[in-house]
Structures are given as C-alpha cells and as structure tokens.
C-alpha cells in the first residue's frame, strides 16, 4: 500500500520541486534520482502484488493486479533510463539550440508530471479518474512537444493538443454512457465507476448502451494509441518534441492508452457476450499496421519514421488484443514490453545520431558506424530488433501473434505477412544508408551515453532467448486476467 502511495507521491513531489529548481545545473541528476527511487518503489509494489495477489486500496480508488503492476514497473524502468539519457542530452540541446535554462525547469517539472499522470492512469480503479489522468498526460506533454518553439514544434503541439483533446472528449462521452449503464444496476454512484465492480457486474450491464459507449471509448483512447485514421498527431508530436519526450511517448504513453482500451474492452466483452469489441480492435489494428508500414517508405525525418514504426507496432498489439485468446494476449503483453524497451532505446540512439549529424533529415545522416561506431551499431541492432529478428524479444511476440493468427484466422496471416515485409523494407531502406557507407565530413562524434540503449537491448535479447520465470508467471497471470486462461 505504502509502496503504491509513494509511487504516486514521488513524481508529484518531483514536479513541485522542479517547478522551483528545475533550471539548476544538477537538476538532471535529481531527475535521475527521482526516477530511480520511483523505480525502486514500483519494484517494491510489484513484489507485493506478486506476493499477495491483487490489491485494492481501502478507499477503492486504486486497484493493482498483475496486468497493470507490470506496466507500472515497465513505465518506471523506461522512465529511469530515459532520465539517465536525458541528462547529458538536454544539456547538449541547451547549448546547441540555446534554449533558456527556464525551459529546463519546465522540462523537468513536466517530465515528472507526465510520469505521475501515467502512474495514476495505470493504478486507478476508477474509470473516471482514468480519463482525467489520460487527459492530464496530454496536458503535461503538450508544452514539452513545443519546447523548441520552432514553427513546426508549435504546429505539432497544437495538433497534438486539439486532436487528442477532441479524441479524449469522445472517451469521456463513452465513460458517461458507461456510467449511465452502470448506475442502473449498481446502487451507489461511487461504485458505478469502479473498474473491479463494473468487471464483476459486467454481465448485467445493458449491451446496447455499452456498444455505443465502446464506440466512443475506442475512438477516444484509440486516438491516443495512434490508431489509423486518428493517428495524424502522433508522427508530428514525436518528431518535433525533444527526443527523451519521444522516447517516453512512444515507449509508455501509447502503452497506457492501449491499457485503458483493454481494461474497458474487458468490461464490454463481459456485457456484450459477443466479439464485436474484439473485431473492431482487430480491424483498427490491422489497418494501422498496414498503413503505417506503407508510410515508413516515404519518410524523410528519422524520428518521424520511427514514430510510424510505433504506430505499426501498436496496430499489431491492438490486433492481438482484439483477437483475444490466451496465446494472442500473452503475445500482445510481451510485445508491449519488448516494443517499449526497444523503441525507447532506438529513440535514444536516434537522438544521439541527430546530434551527431546536426539534423533529423534522413538524407543528411550517413555512415554512422564510421563516425561513431557505438551509435551506428546501436541504431542498426535496434532496428534489427524492432524489425522482429531473433534472438530479440520482438521476434518472440511476433512469432506468437502469427501462429495464433494462423490458428484462428488463417487468412489474416496474408495481410500480416505482406505488412511485415513492407514495413521491414521501409525501415531498412532508410536505416541502411544512415548506418553504412562513408560519412560526410560535417558529422562529428558527441558525448553519447549508450548505457540505456545497451541495457534495453540486452533485456530484449534476454526476453528473446528465454523469458525468466517470474516474468512468465506475471504475464500468464495477466493473460488469465484478460483472456480467461493462459498458455502456460
């Protein structure tokens, strides 16, 4: 319990503290410190939950089970490594783009604020608060996206703000409808928004209302997941914001949005007793998967390209969750993990690469391996990993998704296969020249901190070779929670 409250409190403290001292020279270190303690807390929390099983806070505002506790830990971990990376990176950015130090105050404060909103969204038991937290995540990051104040940055931020705001508003309408359906069967108004109550009562909720509600929720949270055709904000926001931001947006925010979607799908499924929700998710997932794959081919901005790859992978997860079934769900959970690890690692590397080349334009980045081998290899290996080559974990999850599809929807494997090939080609035809070949003289090495990258990639490698026991149990508990049974 204390662990939970600490997990939520620390970032708030951090936010407030940084609002005052965020501009100091050592703020970066302090940020790392906060992230580290937070990670420790989350591990403690996870330990407790794994030990004693699901945990419902006395005031019933928080509910922790296997599904969200592992996301909390993942979030804390990626937050930590990103903080480690962002310290030297932002320092370099400050002198490179001569941002004022007060920007760093904003940056650090918002970093912590963002972490808070995500912890809140993950741990809350109240779908109303879930919505508030999701909206809060948007508000926390929108100023970071426009941190550089360039026209593009402002434009990206504005689109991010408006599109996500409108989208999330739909989600609120969905929530209202859900509440409307719930309060007719659940006596007290307070409980009518509590997930565990709703989940247990799901059977008696009114299907027609929930269908409507689900449509609004899907469009709403789907916007934040970045599902085509509500994805348009995503590449802009990812490519124009500071790289650590892109790393946590891609690695965490999308996960959290998908988490919300899955939580609500569980309720809707319980009520509808048919697979409508699943089918919708599969359709959106597949569409996003294919479209993003094609978009990869036409990119000129490296961060933009990788954000499209994020869309692609979120599409795959959505597809897998929609397909349901233990195997697919297990695969989707695993994919969540490996994707956020790999993708954040890639964004870290990309940040360094962009600093080395002094630009994000793909045509101008050349021969990274030559200029700075560590970064070059990092980018290459990261891309190999995200493209789904073993022995990296992404392969494992894609393997499971594909075989699960083969079992239940044999013919859908064809578009999946084509999509994988197209996306792969799109990714590599851009990464290849950036990594290989002769480097232009303009590129000069920077002080890169590749520790987070190596850490992430090693973890992903580990997951690809063998999923450790405790993690496996963890996943299987979560799978049992979502899909009823687990492949283990």
């Amino acid at each position: 319990m204390t662990a939970l409250y600490l997990t939520l409190l620390i970032p708030i403290l951090g936010m407030l503290l940084f609002a005052v001292i965020g501009h100091l020279r050592h703020a970066g270190w302090i940020n790392v410190l906060f992230a580290a303690t937070n990670f420790a807390m989350s591990v403690w929390l996870a330990w407790g939950v794994l030990d004693k099983g699901p945990l419902l806070s006395p005031d019933r505002y928080f509910y922790i089970d296997a599904f969200n506790v592992y996301l909390v830990t993942l979030t804390a971990f990626v937050g930590l490594t990103t903080a480690i990376f962002s310290r030297p990176y932002m320092a370099h950015e400050v002198e490179l783009r001569n941002l004022g130090r007060h920007r760093l105050r904003l940056y650090h404060a918002m970093f912590q604020g963002f972490m808070f909103t995500m912890y809140a969204a993950l741990t809350t038991n109240n779908i109303g608060i879930l919505w508030v937290a999701m909206e809060g995540a948007t508000l926390a990051t929108v100023l970071l996206v426009s941190l550089y104040r360039t026209p593009e940055a402002v434009e990206a931020a504005w689109k991010y703000f408006i599109l996500c705001g409108v989208g999330i508003a739909q989600a609120l309408f969905g929530t209202v409808l859900l509440y409307f359906a719930a309060e007719r069967v659940i006596p007290t108004a307070e409980q009518a928004l509590q997930w565990n109550v709703l989940y247990s009562m799901a059977g008696s909720l009114e299907p027609t209302v929930l269908t409507l509600a689900y449509v609004f929720l899907l469009v709403g949270y789907g916007t934040k997941v970045g599902l085509v055709p509500m994805h348009n904000w995503l590449p802009d926001a990812h490519s124009e914001g500071p790289t650590p931001m892109s790393a946590i947006l891609s690695g965490l925010l999308l996960n959290v949005a998908l988490y919300a979607l899955v939580r609500l799908k569980m309720i809707v499924d319980g009520s509808l007793k048919n697979d409508l929700a699943g089918y919708l998710m599969m359709a959106f997932g597949l569409l996003s998967f294919m479209v993003a794959g094609l978009f990869l081919h036409r990119q000129r901005d490296i961060k933009r390209m990788f954000s499209y790859s994020s869309i692609e992978h979120m599409g795959l997860m959505t597809f897998a969750f929609g397909m349901g079934g233990p195997l697919a769900t297990f695969a989707a959970l695993l994919h969540m993990t490996v994707h956020s690890l790999t993708k954040s690692a890639i964004f870290v590397t990309v940040g360094h690469a962009a600093q080395i080349a002094g630009t994000q334009s793909i045509e101008k980045i050349r021969g990274m391996i030559h200029t700075q081998p560590a970064v070059g290899w990092g980018l290459l290996i990261g891309t190999v990993a995200i493209a789904g080559f073993p022995p990296f974990g992404v392969f494992t999850s894609e393997f499971l998704v594909l075989t699960a599809t083969m079992k239940t929807w044999p013919w859908l494997t064809v578009p999946l296969l084509i999509g994988l090939a197209i996306a792969f080609a799109g990714l590599f035809r851009h990464v290849h020249p950036m990594v290989y070949g002769e480097a232009p003289a303009t590129q000069s090495p920077v002080r890169a901190n590749m520790f987070p990258v190596m850490l992430h990639l090693i973890l992903v490698l580990w997951l690809g070779l063998a999923i450790p026991k405790f993690l496996a149990d963890w996943f299987s508990q979560a799978t049992t929670l979502i899909a009823g049974s687990s492949p283990l």
Binding site: W158, I162, F216
Partner: protein
C-alpha cells in the same frame, strides 16, 4: 566421447569463438588464430557427432533451458541432422584453416568496417547453422534460422563502403525476412494441426491433403527462396559475391544446404503423407533453376558472381533429385524414392565441398591479384601453380566429370530418372525424361562454363599487371583448398562406401534402405541391380591412370626433350595478351543461342577516321546483361509498393481540419455500424 558431448562442444566452442572475437581489436593476431582455432575445433566435433550418429544410426535428443516459458529449446541429433553437421563441419574446417591467413588483409584495412564484426558474426553465423540442423521445435528452429540469416547479413554488409554491397545486403535481408515469415507460417499450419511447436507433435499431426499442401507450398517458397531457386534467387548473385570469400564459401557451400535441410526435414519428416504433385512442382522448378542458373553463370565475368549463379544451378539439380524422389514415393515406389533422396544428399555433400573449394580459390586469386573479373586474370597457372591444381580439380568436379564427386550424384540422378517407365501416369513418364535431358544440357553447359573459368583465369597470358605480379598464397589457404580437393576425388572414387554411410538418412526418414546400392562391395555401385546399371569408380579411375601412365612411359623411352618456341601468330608481330579470347568472347556463342534468357543491351561503337570515313579507327563493344527476373518480377513489385506509399501520403495532408474530419467521420461511421 559421446555424440551428445561432441554436439555441446561444437556449440560451445562456436559461441566461445564469437565471445573471444569481441576483443579482437585489442590483440588482433592472437585472437584471430584463437577464434579460428575454436571454429576448427567446433567443426571437428560437429563432424565427429554427425559421423557417430550416421554410423550407429541412433538419435539423441536434448533440451536447453531457453525459449518460451512453456517450450524449452528442443535439440535432436539424428541421422539427417548428423549428415548436415558433417557437411557443415567439412567446410567450416576448411574455412578455419583458410581464415587466419586470408582475413589478415582485413585487419589493418583503412576501410570503415571493423574487424571485430567480421569475426564475431562469422562465429555466430556458423553457430546459427549448427542450431538450425539441431533444432527440434519450430520456435528454436526459427530463432536459429534467423540468427543464421542476420549474422550472414552483417557479413554481406561487411565491406559497406561499396554501394553494391549495401544494396546486396539490403536485398538479402529483405528476402531472408520474407522467406523466414513464410516458413514460420508453414510451421504455424503444422502446429495448428499438431497442437504444439515441437517436431514430435507436428509428426503426430494428421493434416488434410489441402492443409498439408498449403504447408508444403509455404515451406517450399520460404526454403526455396533461401536456397536460391529461380525465380526467387535475385538476392543470391548479389549477396554471395560481395561477402569476404571464406564467407561466400560458407554461404554458397553450406547455408544453401541448410535451407535444403529444412525442406527435407519438413517434407520427409514432419509433413506425413507425401503427395507426388509436390515432387512434380519441385522437379520442374529444379530443372528450370538448373538451366537458367548455369546460363546466367555462363555469362557472368565476375568470378564470384559466376560461382554464385552456378550454386543456383546445383541447387536446381538437388531439387530435381528430391522432386524425383517425392514423385516415386508418392506413387508408392519407396525404393526409387530412397535412391532419389540419396542422389540429392550426395550432391549436397559434393556441392558443399567443391563450391567451398572454388570460392576459397576465388578468394585466393583475389588475395593474390585483387581482381574478381575474369577478364583481368590469365596465366595464373604459372604464378600460383598449386592453387591452379586445386581449382582444376574443383572445376572438373563441379562440371560433373568422372571420376570426381560431381559425376556420382549426376549418375545416380539419371539412374533414378531412367526408372520413369515404372510410373503409372503417362504424363510423368513423358515429363521425367525431358527434365533429365534438361539436366544433361545443364551439365554440358556447366562444363563449358568451367572451361571458361579455368581457361580464362589460369591459362593463356596474364591480362593485367596484377595478374602478372600474382604470388602463391600462404600455406594455410593452400591446405584448406587441398583438403577439399582431395575430398572431391575421394568422394568421387568411393561412392559405394559413402552411400553405405549416408543411407542411415533414408533409413531414418523412410524406414527403407536402398536395395543393393552397396551390396556388390566397395568396388561396385549398383543402385537397382547389377544388370540394370553399375559403375565402378575405382576401376575407372585406375584404368584412366594406368592407360595414361603406360602411354606416357612408352613414349618417354625414346623421346627427345621438347623444344620450346614462340607460338604461331599468323605473321602479325608477337602474340600478346590482347589477342586471346576474353571471357565475354568465350561465352558469346552460348549467349547468341540462348539470347531470350537475358535482358541484353548490346552496342558496338565505331569510331571513323576523320578524313577517310571508310577507315575505322577504333571499335568498342559494350554488353549489359541482367537476368530477366528483375525486370519481370522484382522491379514491378517494388514499384507497386512505392506507388502505394506515394498515394498513402495524402492521408497526412497537414491540415488539422482534415484530421478532425477523419476522427469525426470514423466516429459517425462506427456509430452507424453498431446501430
């Protein structure tokens, strides 16, 4: 030493080689030798393990605590994987002899590539191949398979300062990825039916013919793409030449075979009931690959590219043999099926050896002359005599000439094909001999091709300074080539003994032994029975040597010493290097006969004399050839994808109103759908 221990030793030392190589930049010389020593060790133990299971025809299974939580890595060492372990081991052993001297050129290279990458990924590549043949569940198989692909991709991209190499690497990885996915799906079908990923469960599965055929189709596509069958071969002639030569030897000599291993394992072992239609498909594709492969090879002037194309040809031969075997099995002629399988296995072994030899030879030439283009070589037999001998043996073997190893498998294949009359279906009976004729044609063309290779590279006069100043390569490299060359001869002369070992494989897969292939003793090879066909390689070889020797001695008795003079030059000055036939010229008749096979762009530029236009001052002849699969198949697909990418761009108009409209109408659409 138990086979199990030997296997682990092989894997461990390969892995260790990779680890050791990480530090290679610190102390290059030592670790270079160390890593190649470890590779040699792994090769030796792999061969030991393979031989021991082949001879005892037992099978060992093991599990590693890796993989999925509910599915450890299952390894299985049986006759089939044992055979392939031997095949891999032979070439790897040669490479580990060859490597230290060869890669020295890369250590101090100014080029951007890092020597560490080369040694690490070489070791991983080899490790991957071991694991593929040992895998006993789909997941581990795929992991090992892709490990092999990715490692070799890094090796292809190794000298990435050349755009051609980057292009090749990209193409290779892309096609490897597609192949991998399609194989994965084929396993998916089997797993779906068998209820699990282990090969045990897949064997147990009983598929409907339709699903089995789908699985076969997917696997054939995937493995075939990796094995380089036409028209899925585009990556091969790009990727194999640009890798360092010892890697090319591994890729062409072994990796393609590993792909064929996958095919054999899946079709003969996992897929259950064999349909003869599969065999027919395989036979036709194989025959076409054979012919086109050798024709493309004939017209290539880059030595390594030529060798790569000839690999396509040989894969075609192997596929044809497998196809025949499947056809006969599908028609209930188990025995003939076994013979076809043996022919295929024999060619797999043989091709691994002589293609490895030839690539190593090409590497030796490259090291001595820095040339890959045949037209820049010539007269090397004088500069590098021993390499010349080994290469000559390699050329003879790959041309399928008796009494070397290439001929044996060809002979067996023909013998099987000649049994066509036992089949019921008239179509097959008519078709098989025709494909046999195609094989014969390709064999003859292969001979022509390798006359071109040896003749242009080693004979005649040096065409460039580099060729003139070539030097014999160091001992290690010669040892490697010599070893393989001697094996070419041995396997050519002792087919019965070899088959006696190999037939543990059909015994495992089909529970049938070849009837009396080896009954007549080591001297005689009688596939069906003595009066149907027999071939005694030892005697033939003996006769050749004896007759030749006798004649030589007879003439030596009263022969004066030979006088050496200038060659006859028709009265124009001295014979110079530019007078001799070039590789292009040599291939020209064939090119004219089979012109439709290529996209040819031929032009003759005449420069007239300024004052008297009837005088031709100079004539330049230019020829661009590329195989048709590009313009017909690959370019269109690529354009299709890019066209789609161009159109899709209009989703991202940049106008926020449009974006809002998207989500607005999505919402309305969904609401309309659900109500």
């Amino acid at each position: 030493m138990s086979p199990l221990f030997a296997t682990y030793l092989a894997l461990a030392s390969a892995l260790l080689a990779a680890v050791v190589s990480l530090g290679v930049t610190r102390l290059p010389t030592l670790l270079r030798y160390a890593s190649f020593l470890l590779l040699g060790l792994s090769a030796a133990s792999a061969m030991y393990a393979g031989m021991s299971v082949l001879l005892t025809s037992t099978s060992v299974t093991m599990e590693l605590p890796l993989g999925l939580p509910w599915l450890n890595w299952h390894l299985r060492l049986d006759a089939l994987s044992g055979f392939f372990l031997v095949v891999i081991g032979v070439v790897v052993l040669a490479v580990s002899l060859y490597g230290p001297a060869y890669v020295r050129t890369f250590v101090h290279a100014k080029a951007p590539q890092s020597f560490t990458a080369l040694s690490v990924f070489t070791a991983l590549f080899i490790l991957g191949m071991y694991l593929v043949v040992l895998a006993d569940d789909a997941f581990m198989f795929m992991v090992a398979w892709e490990l092999m692909s990715v490692a070799s991709y890094f090796l292809v991209a190794y000298q990435h300062q050349y755009p051609a190499n980057r292009r090749a690497a990209f193409l290779y990885l892309l096609m490897a990825h597609i192949a991998g996915v399609s194989i994965l799906l084929s396993f998916g079908v089997l797993a779906g039916a068998g209820g699990g990923y282990t090969f045990e469960q897949m064997r147990a599965a009983d598929l409907s013919v339709t699903w089995a055929s789908i699985a076969f189709g997917l696997a054939f596509f995937g493995f075939g793409m990796k094995a380089g069958m036409v028209p899925l071969h585009a990556w091969l002639p790009e990727a194999h030449p640009v890798a360092p030569s010892h890697i090319s030897a591994l890729m062409s000599g072994v990796m393609l075979k590993v792909a064929l291993y996958g095919l054999i394992r899946l079709v003969y072992d996992l897929l259950g009931e064999i349909q003869w239609e599969w065999g027919l498909v395989m036979l036709l594709v194989g025959a076409i690959s054979t012919l086109l492969g050798v024709l493309y090879a004939m017209l290539s002037n880059n030595l390594k590219r030529l060798l790569a194309y000839s690999s396509i040809e040989n894969v075609g031969i192997i596929l044809s043999a497998l196809g025949l075997s499947l056809i006969f099995i599908g028609n209930g002629e188990q025995v003939l099926g076994v013979l076809g399988l043996i022919a295929a296995l024999y060619h797999i072994l043989g091709h691994a050896i002589f293609k490895g030899l030839l690539f190593l030879g090409a590497g030796a030439i490259a090291r001595a002359t820095h040339e890959y283009d045949l037209n820049n070589m010539g007269g090397l037999i004088h500069r590098m005599p021993r390499t010349a001998v080994w290469m000559l043996i390699g050329c003879l073997a790959i041309a399928g000439l008796p009494p070397l190893t290439g001929f044996v498998s060809e002979w067996l294949t023909f013998q099987v094909a000649l049994q066509a009359p036992v089949l019921k279906s008239g179509v097959l009976r008519a078709l098989i001999p025709v494909t046999a004729a195609m094989l014969a044609l390709s064999a003859a063309l292969a001979a022509a091709t390798f006359v071109k290779v040896f003749g242009v590279a080693f004979l005649g006069q040096p065409r460039t300074r580099n060729a003139r100043h070539a030097h014999e390569v160091p001992l290690g490299m010669q040892l490697a080539m010599g070893m393989l060359a001697i094996l070419c001869v041995l396997f050519g002369i002792l087919p019965s003994t070899t088959i006696g070992v190999i037939d543990a494989v059909p015994q495992l897969l089909l529970e049938t032994l070849p009837p009396e292939a080896t009954t007549a003793g080591w001297l005689w090879l009688t596939p069906m029975s003595a009066d149907v066909a027999s071939y005694s390689a030892p005697l033939v070889a003996l006769a050749l040597v004896v007759v030749g020797g006798l004649v030589y001695l007879l003439l030596r008795v009263r022969a004066e010493r030979i006088r050496r003079v200038y060659p006859w030059e028709c009265g124009y000055g001295e014979v110079n290097a530019r007078m001799q036939y070039t590789a292009t010229a040599f291939a020209q008749p064939i090119q004219r006969i089979f012109a439709p096979v290529w996209d040819l762009d031929e032009e003759i530029v005449e420069k007239r004399h300024a004052k008297q236009p009837q005088l031709v001052e100079s004539i330049r002849y230019q020829l661009q050839r590329q195989d048709k699969s590009w313009s017909r198949l690959y370019a269109p697909i690529g354009m299709l994808v890019l066209g789609a990418a161009r159109r899709i761009g209009y989703l991202q108009t940049g106008s926020i109103h449009t974006y809002l409209a998207y989500s607005f109408f999505t919402l309305l659409f969904l609401l309309w759908v659900v109500t």
